[in-house]
Symmetry: C2
Subunit: 87 residues, 2 copies
């Protein structure tokens, strides 16, 4: 079963197929703490989102595999794990 994320934090985008989300933080230490935990998650899972961030925001993009028509288990699991880190 290829799960689609039921995850409101993330938006599913097409062409190319990907998940995107934007996270806001009260200050830089909070942004930094999240980024460190997301990095640890990437190292544990081998899933490396494209991330852009500034002092109090983080944008994450999870591209599906080239040519894929579904997001795939590992991407959706990573997206859910990121939501758990953020909430």
């Amino acid at each position: 079963m290829t799960s689609t994320t039921s995850n409101p934090l993330w938006s599913r985008r097409e062409r190319p197929l990907r998940l995107e989300c934007r996270l806001e933080f009260p200050d830089y230490p909070a942004t930094r703490d999240f980024l460190d935990r997301a990095a640890a998650l990437s190292e544990r899972t081998g899933v490396h989102p494209d991330i852009s961030f500034g002092r109090t925001y983080v944008n994450l993009t999870l591209p599906a595999d080239e040519g894929a028509t579904e997001l795939g288990e590992s991407l959706c699991r990573f997206a859910n794990d990121i939501e758990a880190l953020y909430r």
Copy 2:
């Protein structure tokens, strides 16, 4: 003296005035190590570039102050410090 960076790593862009650079890394640990050192530099200087990164690249954007016609000392010093971290 308002310095303009003599720093080849960075490109000066207009509208809005900013410095930009793209850094490539051999693997994720090297990217991670650079990002951690850049974060420490931001915490020390209070200068927070907009950063986007993936597994083996980091893009940094240093926007000049709103309406500024020059980049300013702190921005140029930060750009030079980033180059020192990267070289």
